[in-house]
């Protein structure tokens, strides 16, 4: 996650416009709290108390309400962890198709501490609940973004190397009947 120290907690004019656009979609401004939290998290890397306060002030809500929402949903980060999150699914089909082993492998590969974070704080590994891609099990979500399908240990190694050299995973289109991925 981005270091938030020495950062001013304000939204830019562009970000405020974007939030305004979301507010306009709903009959009440409060409904824009989730999109606004997304904008704050993408900007600051995680949702500190200051970031939550900023969202609350922008939408005219109490800190308690916004904190309550932020803490309810698992994709909002309430603590700064690693910069890149590898979220490996071990649920249901993924768990039965090697996901549990891949999760352990990924933790070892980044030398994760008890929190799942690598020593250089570049990577953070955690277990995902069902990601809705059971047909390409086991799957992983990279940093709340693209999915990486049909995981293997080699894929994890390659991904870690590539991310270190600045090459992030790309969107991978899965054909309708994904025979191409299955040996």
């Amino acid at each position: 996650m981005t270091d938030t120290e020495n950062k001013e907690f304000i939204f830019t004019e562009g970000e405020l416009q974007e939030i305004k656009m979301h507010v306009a979609k709903y009959p009440e401004a409060r409904s824009a709290v989730m999109p606004a939290l997304w904008i704050a998290q993408n900007k600051f890397g995680w949702l500190s108390d200051q970031a939550i306060q900023l969202v609350a002030d922008t939408l005219g809500l109490s800190f308690a309400h916004v904190y309550g929402v932020a803490s309810f949903y698992t994709m909002y980060f309430k603590k700064p962890m690693g910069k890149y999150l590898l979220e490996v699914c071990t649920c249901f089909s993924c768990g039965e198709c090697g996901g549990k082993e891949i999760l352990q492998y990924a933790k070892k590969a980044i030398q994760a501490d008890e929190q799942g974070v690598s020593p250089d704080k570049l990577f953070w590994v955690r277990e995902a609940e069902c990601l809705g891609a059971c047909d390409t099990a086991p799957v992983m979500q990279f940093n709340n973004g693209h999915y990486v399908h049909a995981l293997t240990e080699e894929k994890i190694d390659r991904l870690i190397e590539e991310v270190k050299s600045g090459k992030l995973p790309q969107y991978e289109r899965i054909p309708l009947n994904n025979q191409s991925l299955i040996g």
Binding site: M75, F92, Y147
Partner: protein
Amino acid sequence: MENWQSYQKVILPDVPDYHKIEVYTQHGGYETIRKILTSGEYTPKSVIDQVKAANIRGRGGAGFNAGLKWSFMPPKQPGVPRYLACNGDESEPGTIKDRRIFEYNPHLFIEGILIACYAMEMDAAYIYIRGEYIDWIHMMQKAVDDAYAKGMIGKNIMGSGFSTEIYVHTGAGAYICGEETSLMESLEGKRAYPRSKPPFPAQAGLWGKPTTINNIETLACATLVMKHGAEWFANIGAKTHPGPVLYGISGHVIRPGVYEYPTGMLISDLIYKVAGGIRNGKKLKAVVPGGSSVPVLTAEMIDGITMDADSLRTVGTYMGTAGMCILDEDTDMVKFLRRIAHFYHHESCGQCTPCREGTGWMEKLIARIDDGQGEMKDLDLLLDLCDNMEGRTVCALADAAAWPVRNTINRFRSEFEKKIVRNSVYATV
């Protein structure tokens, strides 16, 4: 289903670039809503009647007649807005179908939204998509933007005087948001705690206004019904549970994937003919036919059973989301159940005590058995726990958590007993 091999796909047709609005319209897309809005042959009521007659059983899991649900909306009051909520939370483990609609045929779904909004006189529709699907949220937003640009959504659509707005809303990782009232709380910008019913959403839903909530695939089916007729739809697949359906097949099969076929397919055909059979020449052990919460079937139980509500009921399970997990002979059913219990424990919203505490105890007890520390009485304790959760909470998450526990223990009891006996005092006396 005898002629399933020659079935022509209609939800996810094999047309390149069908997700693009130009290609969709070239193939007759948006002509169905045009016919409804501009031919003068339809009224909101006649559309609801046609959808009702088609008997689209909701594809989100409950299997309720979608047209009947639409008919629950109260008469339109001037000045009172009404909303459609489209449930694309797709969080039930094993469920992988709506994502394919977002990617491969979003306009069929958007056309279904417009039909629903016309039929129920809605002012706006909200498409709620789980936050993990960020790539598909962008695809869906692009499809909505394209439809706006062509005048298919917005004010005075196709000069008919009918107006409706469509918005995409991004979730942030919470299984409970797939529960209809919880999804509404989330859309209202709150913690997603399910609401007590009544009042039902048709009376007081989003922002206290009349609301209907439908699954993505259900709305896509509504377009097909209005395009080809109720009779056409009702004659596809199983008589009491008709229509095309997206089967999401995962687990230990050779070709996992999302397959569109009529309802009423033999489970054995889906496993062995459609998905290529069990991997590595193994034998089948179990099938979860409709997402993690529906009761599991043993290999013996699937004999002659088809994927529709009536047939599945005879073996005590449900169609759910048609997200099928196929498990081979090497599967440790205790470990499998342990991971499911962990899921429900993690995803319980914490509002009702029987669920918040019960899901935790379930996970602990199953983990204890799996770790070789269990006792025989733990099995009865687990079943007792199920009794104390089912039907005792605001929403059905507690039921969804209890069903797999109850049924996996009942149907694979010897596997649980083996883990207990092998590791307990019983083994030494």
